[in-house]
């Protein structure tokens, strides 16, 4: 694990608030995942990849773009690892590294659809401004 990967890992764990050491490799997440076949790295592998610090591989995976965010895995994981959140965290770390994605509050009014619910705006803002 490079220093950069260690930093990314820390960032991902901060974003998702998950504890990867709790994973017992039961595979329940993968078995619950409707997009399993579209993934190169499977949901149950995320905890060990992150534990090892193989962050570049995760960031280059197809998984982070194919995950539906349905959180079936989060709901079903018996150890409360919440792999869907891990995937979400890696995706955000990847997005941030592309640059220029930070949303500023003042940019919002010009971009939004008037029907967009207020909660969505708040949650996007909270997420992207970390």
């Amino acid at each position: 694990m490079t220093i950069e990967e260690a930093n990314i890992r820390e960032e991902v764990l901060l974003i998702c608030g998950c504890d990867v050491t709790r994973c017992m490799k039961c595979g329940k997440c993968s078995a619950s995942c409707p997009a399993y076949d579209e993934f190169d790295i499977k949901p149950h592998q995320f905890a060990s990849y992150i534990a090892r610090g193989d962050m570049y591989e995760l960031m280059q995976s197809k998984t982070i773009w194919n995950c539906l965010g349905c959180f079936a895995c989060v709901e079903r994981c018996p150890r409360d690892v919440r792999p869907g959140k891990l995937i979400d965290g890696v995706r955000q770390a990847a997005v941030r590294r592309r640059g220029g994605t930070h949303l500023q509050p003042e940019d919002i009014p010009s971009r939004i659809d008037p029907d967009t619910p207020q909660q969505l705006l708040m949650s996007v803002l909270r997420r992207e401004r970390k």
């Binding site: 709790r22 490799k25 329940k28 993968s30 078995a31 619950s32 018996p78």
Partner: protein
Amino acid sequence: MQRIGVFVCHCGSNIAATVDVAAVAEAAKSQPGVVFATDYTYMCSENGQNLIADSIKEYGLTAVVVCSCSPRMHEATFRKVADKAGLNPYMVEIANIREQCSWVHKDTEIGTPKAISLMKTAVAKVNLNTPLQEGESKVTKRALIIGGGIAGIQTALDIADAGYKVDIVEKTPSIGGRMSQLDKTFPTLDCSSCILTPKMTEVAQHENITLYTYSEVESVSGYVGDFTVEIRRKARYVHEDICTGCGLCMTKCPSKKAKNEFNRGLNTRTAIYTPFAQAIPNVPVIDTEACIHFRTGKCGICAKNCAVQAIDYEQKDEIITEKYGAIVVATGFDLIDLKPFGEYAYNLSPDVVSSLELERILNAAGPTSGHLQRMSDHRQPKEMVFIQCVGSRCEDDRRGKPYCSKICCMYTAKQAMLIKDHYPDVNIHVFYIDVRTPGKAFDEFYRRAVEDYGVDYIKGQVGKVTPQADGTLLVHGVDMLDQKVVEINADMVVLAAAVEPNPDIRKLATMLTLSIDNNNFLNEAHPKLRPVEAATAGVFMSGVVQGPRDIPETVAQAGAAAIKVVGLLAKDKLKTNPCVAQSDELYCNGCSVCQNVCPYGAISYTEKEVRDHGVRDTRRIAQVNPALCKGCGACSVACPSGAMNLKGFSNRQIMAEVDTVLCQ
């Protein structure tokens, strides 16, 4: 003034590495009352003990302070030494300079002053100690076993064989427990009833054993050696002493739709019933909710048919009171509720069954007479899926348990092999997380399922079981080793559900002041060194009530519990702890605060005439029953007038300790 000796232990390097023991002994010499102080490598060794005993005699010591490990470890040892040397054992105080000092600090700069401070505190206390006398209490030579599963049965037999009287209280109409519901048992595949029934009969015939089935413990009072227990004998509506067990009533009973609990609800039974053919006692009970007579006042067929007039619809619950010296809790377990596991379709399809239901299906006396069948259409399944760890190892406390249930890996291998033996054409797939088979001949047993019987083990949990229109069950999972989705059209799915302690244990724990863990398993007095004793003296445990285990382990533990009971019952008298509470009648104003906080019900009140400054007065005064008091000290803290004192830990003694710590 006391003549105090202070003995500082090195505990090898356990204490000496972080505490300058010589400095502690030196500092002791200038403490009030101290006439002798020394240090030694191992105070608990024979030489160390002799050193204390000799010094008591040589310096005429009236009190001793040992600076060593926790009093839990060696207080009893050093009290014995004092006793032998002619000193009242309660004149010994321990300063814990190991667990509370050397083990928690890294350097001598902190360790030594703290050890000195602990030593001074103990000296301050022992200056106020007074000799205390242990009392004696009698031992009722009879034991009570709560729960008549294999654990309770074996414990009772072992105690009874040693020559003591034993009563078993069993909640259901028959003894036998879960083991009577099993078909064959791992690892030797002997038939469960064939090995259990002889033991049940032995219990019934043993001259030292009294059975109270269909009964429950109503209340418990008293203490080790002398418990008083009220037992509710629920009305059977059949006289146990008259019934011959012919079973005619059961064949005649027209109410046949009651859920058969013994078969886990897979079929029905009559309103008057015995749970199974080999039930002990072989005396039916009437389920009043199902009985036509109790619902409408009509019927009465069973009574009419009973040749010996054993049936009595007017029978009432009966409460009996009995005295016991020891109590063993053996209330066993059940499987967790499977309803919250929606993804496995347990509620949706009768062909998704629990492991215990499968035991009944495989059993010749079960709902399908031992034929492997789907409960929906009575077809023999061709494709079967077993799902392991259902609700075990699960942090989600809304539906699961964090522990491994320990027995399911083994019984699944057993069930798979039993099925393959009779139906070689059935394909069996087992979805597992880990296969856990430690134990004598256990892993070989599981490997036999794979290698000789071709059972297909798949590493990975199942995501979903979906009932299909054609009556099959689509099982969707992944094989984590191949990284492939596995979909199986199963005819039957078996869930290895987590075990949990019988929920009754909560009520019993309150009655017996037992401690239970987060999962409702009983806590032992010490997890390693006192594994069958509860923290409450005189109460023991046996079987799954303490934690998941199989039959061999249960039987071994039952023997261990029995020998502990026998050891207790063999004594004629027990020594009682003299460190009990005592109220000072001049201070007590009868406010009842102490009675409300006492967890052991040891406090009562009397009207007493007292003389206060020459004035005669009748007052309500607290009285402590020393036999019930456990010396917890709750009352002495709660008493607003400072009237309540714990002997050996009086308010003055404790304040002296506090003052010493604070004034340094």
